[in-house]
Structures are given as structure tokens and as C-alpha cells.
Symmetry: C2
Subunit: 458 residues, 2 copies
């Protein structure tokens, strides 16, 4: 058996069999659909965490493991077993998936350090813009009409859009592993990725608006772009103005982590809703909430016992150097950014989205060689588009490193694809092609980057 | 304005108005019911946290604040505004409420230290059994036929069941505040409360089974009792046997908090489902999962940076006493019980249940003086039943302290009541009466206990 066959077999014995048994047993007789869904999801999340850990052992991002787990779980459907696919139409599962992407984009927003973005400046901006425009144009106006003739304008726009957003997590890790995070190449890539996210979300807002209205009018496109940019810009400005007072209020609240998490989530969910009132996708709102709270710091009170132990130690010590450094350590421990709170909370939800996305791939379409070819062509365009961007990185940079650093698509591309599928714009073939493209672009980077980086050193 | 009026006004301006606006605005046009529900819930949870913090300032448990917030939010319904009540029939809200009670009972199970239960022994057991039987019999066979004539056997059983379970959180806090946690009185009460939980859940299982079958057969009652006891007993035994190997496996997992939380939740949700397969309520399963994992310890890796700072300090220090104590501190910090992980996760869900329960009270029923009288009568029986139990606490105890210590009903009683309401066994009047009883019993204890305790000292 190949490694892939083993993974498919193992994951299906672990998940498919129990779920099928549960599906035939649980929901009808005792009428507790909630508990059934929860139990299945709990199993899926555990499996996803294991798949993520395996991916990390192979120097890949955990998201890739979670996505591939979903694809592996789509195998039984080829033989007529659809118990897991039925989950994808379960309203509760869809609800939790929506919570997952909102939390995910909120996190991305929180991590988007705008000050750093400003510092890398013009080079990153050019790389980002070129890296969005080139693959978008190639996808929309070359690949879409060629590979899917007659699929229409909106289809083309969506296919192009899935090619735009860079998922820089994996690149950041490669840079870090090789100890080159502070080089100019790395800074340009990381800065461009943040700008990419912002542009990508505006594109998503536009595409989402077009899907809802069902037609492409330049006036609409302009209006949605203005709204999305304004929404993000206002959030950023508000964030800068309100960060201090909000931090001050929050640091006065002594009611523990629960209150702070409730407030952070109220921002995320409230903004997601606010975004939808403006006709924007909820994730644009969630991202804006993250930008808004980027500078807000929460104080943490979760382990007073530990802190008092440390304080006891300090009081017993006569070494003033020790005492000073302990004070700093305690402060560092108490100050906890919202990011950590949300990450802990999101840990359980986010894998649901990736597994369900993988599971939604109809593997039967790959029986058609054209689909396989389309997947490779889309991947090629995805790589070429970002490499072109690498040429604009300016003096002191290497186009290969910058280009391949920008190649992985990952989370945001998947969100685009799943919106496209749910709204019916992307058919089974196109959705499968996009998922394969995302998997391949995510696999390529950690293989190619170290080669270029080592060559350069040598 | 009275304080209560202020709270009603404030909470409704803060919550009711936005929700009404959102309800009329959000769901239809843009079709994103998920985001609307999330945003409303996020606001409700923030309000609940504030209400909880206010309750704590008045030396009450936060649960009471959350429940009263729900009741305050039920006021606009008196004037024909039902926007918030509609949430109670929203499937997503009901789903999250179900998640909340499962997490809550999982926590209760984790906190139920069985070894301590064994140690307090026979006195606690007698107090617990008497404190369950007396109010149950009084409620079922005296109050129910008298106050709600013709409501039927099942109704009576349910009303009696809501009177059984002790919610000892508030008593524990009063004991702790007054520094008497280690007295015999306190130990008997805390031990009895744990046994109470177990008995209460068996009663719930029985009552739940009766509701589902629609009739009372002694054979069924016996069979469900056996199943519930067996389920809990097997979980306890498995917990004792498997704690060591599970802990060993988990401590080898280095994939961070996410994996551990996923596994803990898989236990909770999986057991809840398993319970439902045996015809037991999901919360019985969740409680069993808590008992099972009671002794399992997870290692924590969340703040490696902090730990390495501490380690740096230790390396720099020449005082061996400091170093030894720092090692102990780091170990204490790394070892983290599942309880903490689940508590952080549950923080956001659990208030939803309490607010929704308060919100489900139809305040209009209190226009009928009979209902008010019934509420007071039920509260009287709830107090008397536990005080009778106090007489059985044995030598060296004070019946007033033990009795009033057992009076608060709280969480488990509310879960009973909401199951009763949702299944249609408890009508609006009875549900309102039970909620008022729970509020009053929870208010009485922190007022009465300190009086008795101070008298004794003097």
C-alpha cells in the first residue's frame, strides 16, 4: 500500500465507519440530532488535529493535513457511501463552519500588523498588487474561457479570484526554520502577504456582490470596492484611535478571561454582521474587527496561583537582578494579546471548515483527464503569477525567493472556493480543480524555497 | 426608579433595541441568518458577563446574574415585543444551549472529586439521600396535586425532580469567604452535594425516560435507574483504570492545547451521544465523561516563551533554594487539568443557556396571584426539604448550617426545568414557578449562612 492509501484507509476506519453506524442508529430513534452532530464533529476535529500534526512532521502546515483528511474522507463516496457527505448539508455543521471562517479571518486581522506593513512600504505593495493582478487576469481571461468554455463571466471572475490571496503562514515558517526571517526578501514577502489579504478581501467582496446580483456591472463593482475599502479603512482608523481607551477599559475589568473573550468575540461577530449589512461577506467584517483590535491589549489573570508562587520566590531571594527579571517575566505573562484568547477558542472550530472543504470535493471528477489537466494548468498559472510579482521586489532581493514565497494559497483561497461552490458559481469540476491547486501550491513552497536559499548561501 | 427597574431598562436598551433592529433588518434581505444569530448571541454573552460580574459584587453567584438578565429581557414581551423570545425557538440558539449544558455538566463531572466523596462518607451520603427524597416526595405528592390539580403524574414527578439537585457553588464560596471550608459542616455539605449530583442525574434519566414513553411504569423506572447507575459506575471504574495510561499518552502529545482540547471535547460529546444511545439524557453522558477524566492530567505547552524566560533567570541565579522552587513553579504551571481548558472554552457558551432560560419565563403568568403563591410554596418546600436533611448530618455538625448550605438549586435544577418546558410537561406557570424557586433558593443561602456562622463563633 502507498502512504496515501494507508491514510485513506486509516482515516475512514477511524471516522467513516463510526459515523455510518451513528447515522443509522442515532438521529431517528432517540431524536437527538444535536448530540449526534456534536459527537461526529468531535471525532472529526480529533482526526483533523492528528492529520495536522502528521503534516507538520512532514514540514507542511497543519491546514494541509486537515484539508487532505477531508479529501481522504471523500473517497468512500466514490463507492456510493455518502454518510459523511450528508454532514456537508447539515445546517448545524454549516453554522459551525461559518463560525470557523469568521474566527479564522478575525485571527488573520489581528495578526496583520499594520505598522509593519507600512515599514516594508512600496516594494511590498508593488509585489502584492502585481501578485494579485497577474494571476487574476490569467485565471479570469485566459484559463477560464480555455478550460471551461461557456461557463460564463461570473465563473471566470471567481476562478481568477481564488488565485489571488497569498497564505504566507508556510513561507513564514520556512524563513524562520532557516533563520532568514529578517532578510529583505523575507520582509518584502511578509509585508506583501498582508496587503494581499486586504486586496483579496476587497476582491471577495466584489465577487460576492456580483454573485448575489447575478450579473457584472462596472458600477456595482466600483461601488462594492469603495464600500469594502471604506469599511476596512474606517476600521483601521478607529482601531488606531480607540486602541488606547479600549485597552484602558479592558485592563480595569477584573472579571477574568471570560469577559474579555466575550468582548473580543462580540467585536468579531458584531463586525461580521455589520459587514453583511453593508452587503459585504461576513469574513470581511471579521477581518476588519481584527484590524480594529490589533493594538488592543488585554490583561490576563488566569493563573494567579502561579504568579503568587513566583512572587514568593522573589521575596525570598536576595539577588536584585533575579527580582528585576522576574518582574518583567510576570508582566509578560499577564499581558496577553486577544490573539491568544481567540486562538485557543478557535482551535476547535477551524479544523471543521478545512475538513468539510476537503470532504466537499467530488473525487469522481478526476476520472476525467481534462479535469486533472485543468488542475495542473491552474497550479501553473498560480505559480507563474506570483513569480512575475517577484521581479518587482526591488534591489537586494531575489525574484525566485520572493516569488515562490508568495505561491501558497491556503486558507483564504479555500474560503473563496467554498463560497463559490455553495453559491453554485463553481461546479464540481471547478471546485475540485481549485482545491487541488491550493494543495499543490502549498506543497511546492517548502520544497523549493530551501533550495534557493541554500544555493544563495553557497 | 428601583434598582430592578434600572437593570430592566438598561439591559433592554443595550440588548432589546439592537436585536429588534437587527431582526427587522438583517435576516431576510442579505440572507445571512448565521451571522445575525452570532452577533445577537455575542451581545447577549457580553451582557451576561456584565450581569454576572454585578451579581458577584453583591456576593451572589454569577449564574444568578445571568438568569436575572434573562428574566429582565423577558419584560418587553409583556408589552407585545417578542423579538428576543423568537431566539428561544431558533434552532442554532437551541443547539448552542445544548452545547452549553453538555459543557456545564462535563465540568461538574470533572470537579466531582470521587476520592473526597468517599472520605466524607456516610454522613454526607445520608444528608444527600434525605435531601433528595424529602423535597422530591413533598413536591410530587403534596405540592403538585395541591397547586396544579389535574396536571397529571408526569407533571408531578417533574416538579419534584426540579427540587432535588443541590447547586453547591454558592455555598462553597460563602464557606471560603468566611474561612470555614475545612470545618466538618462544610465537608458534609460539599460531599453531599456531589452525591446529590449523581442522584439528581439518575432522577433526570428516569424522568426523561418517562417523558419520552409518556407513561409511568415501575418496570421502566427501575430499568432506567439501573442503566443510569450502571453507566455512571462503569465510567467511574473506567476512569480509575484508564487515568494513568490516558495521562501518559496525552503527556507525550506535543501538538499543543488544540489537540488536548479536541480530545477532551471528543470525550464529552462522544459520551453525551453514548448516553443518548442508552436512552439517557445527553447531560448524563457528559457528566459521566467528566467523572471518567477526573484523574487525567494534561500537560500544557502554551507559554514556552515564559518558561524559557524563567529558565534563563534560574540559570543566572546562584541561589539553589530559588532554583528548586522555580522548578516546582514551572511544573505546576505546565501541568494543567482538563478543567481549565474546558472552562475557558465553555465561558462563552454557558451564559447562553442561563439567559435563554430566564428569557423563556412568561412573566405574564405572575399577573395571577395563585402563581406567585405557588412560587413561594415551592420555595418553602425546597428549603424545608434540605433543612430536614440537615438533621441527619451527624455529630459535630449544625443542622442550620448544613441545611441552608444545601438549599441553592441553581444549574441542575434549571436544566431539569428547561427539559420539562421543552418537552411540554411543564406549562408556562409551572416553569415560571420553578425558575422563581431557583432564584429565591440561590438568594437565601448567602444571606442566611453568614448569620448562623457568625452566631456560632460568638
Amino acid at each position: 500500500m502507498t502512504y496515501f492509501q494507508k491514510v485513506v484507509l486509516f482515516s475512514n476506519v477511524f471516522l467513516f465507519v463510526p459515523v455510518t453506524v451513528m447515522a443509522s442508529e442515532g438521529t431517528t430513534e432517540h431524536g437527538n440530532a444535536f448530540t449526534y452532530t456534536l459527537a461526529v464533529l468531535a471525532l472529526i476535529v480529533v482526526a483533523a488535529k492528528i492529520a495536522g500534526a502528521i503534516a507538520e512532521r512532514f514540514k507542511q502546515v497543519s491546514v494541509l493535513g486537515e484539508l487532505l483528511l477531508g479529501v481522504a474522507l471523500a473517497v468512500p463516496a466514490l463507492f456510493g457511501f455518502h454518510a459523511l457527505q450528508e454532514l456537508a448539508t447539515n445546517e448545524l455543521v454549516n453554522f459551525l463552519s461559518e463560525v470557523a471562517v469568521i474566527l479564522l479571518l478575525f485571527q488573520v486581522g489581528l495578526e496583520s500588523n499594520l505598522q509593519e506593513m507600512k515599514r516594508v512600504g512600496i516594494n511590498s505593495a508593488i509585489v502584492a498588487v502585481v501578485g494579485v493582478i497577474v494571476p487574476f487576469l490569467l485565471g479570469t481571461y485566459v484559463l477560464a474561457p480555455w478550460l471551461f468554455p461557456g461557463a460564463g463571466d461570473i465563473f471566470g471572475l471567481f476562478l481568477g479570484a481564488t488565485l489571488t490571496a497569498t497564505s504566507v503562514g508556510i513561507t513564514a515558517r520556512v524563513f524562520k526554520d532557516l533563520g532568514v526571517s529578517t532578510t529583505k526578501n523575507a520582509k518584502v514577502v511578509l509585508g506583501a502577504a498582508v496587503i494581499d489579504d486586504v486586496i483579496g478581501l476587497v476582491i471577495l467582496a466584489v465577487v460576492n456582490g456580483i454573485v448575489q446580483s447575478g450579473s457584472v456591472h462596472m458600477g456595482d463593482v466600483a461601488w462594492i470596492s469603495v464600500k469594502a475599502f471604506a469599511f476596512l479603512a474606517v476600521s483601521i482608523v478607529l482601531g488606531r484611535v480607540l486602541a488606547e481607551p479600549i485597552s484602558a477599559i479592558l485592563s480595569r475589568i477584573t472579571a477574568g478571561i471570560g469577559m474579555k473573550m466575550a468582548m473580543a468575540l462580540a467585536f468579531a461577530f458584531g463586525y461580521a454582521y455589520l459587514g453583511s449589512l453593508f452587503g459585504l461577506a461576513p469574513i470581511v467584517g471579521a477581518f476588519a474587527a481584527g484590524l480594529l483590535l490589533d493594538h488592543v491589549h488585554f490583561r490576563r489573570f488566569s493563573s494567579p496561583k502561579f504568579i503568587s508562587t513566583i512572587q514568593d520566590v522573589m521575596e525570598g531571594s536576595k539577588d536584585s537582578g533575579v527580582i528585576d527579571r522576574m518582574h518583567i517575566a510576570i508582566e509578560g505573562f499577564r499581558e496577553r494579546h486577544i490573539e491568544d484568547l481567540i486562538e485557543d477558542f478557535g482551535q476547535w472550530f477551524i479544523p471543521i471548515f478545512f475538513v468539510m472543504t476537503g470532504l466537499s470535493v467530488n473525487l469522481a471528477v478526476f476520472g476525467n483527464l481534462k479535469v486533472l489537466f485543468a488542475a495542473l494548468a491552474l497550479t501553473g498559472v498560480a505559480v507563474i503569477g506570483k513569480i512575475v510579482a517577484g521581479f518587482f521586489a526591488g534591489k537586494g532581493t531575489d525574484w525566485k525567493i520572493v516569488g515562490f514565497g508568495m505561491v501558497p494559497r491556503g486558507e483564504v483561497g479555500l474560503i473563496f472556493a467554498s463560497i463559490g461552490q455553495q453559491s453554485g458559481v463553481l461546479n464540481d469540476e471547478a471546485f475540485a480543480v481549485v482545491v487541488v491547486m491550493i494543495i499543490l501550491t502549498t506543497l511546492i513552497t517548502p520544497i523549493m524555497l530551501p533550495m534557493f536559499l541554500k544555493k544563495k548561501e553557497a
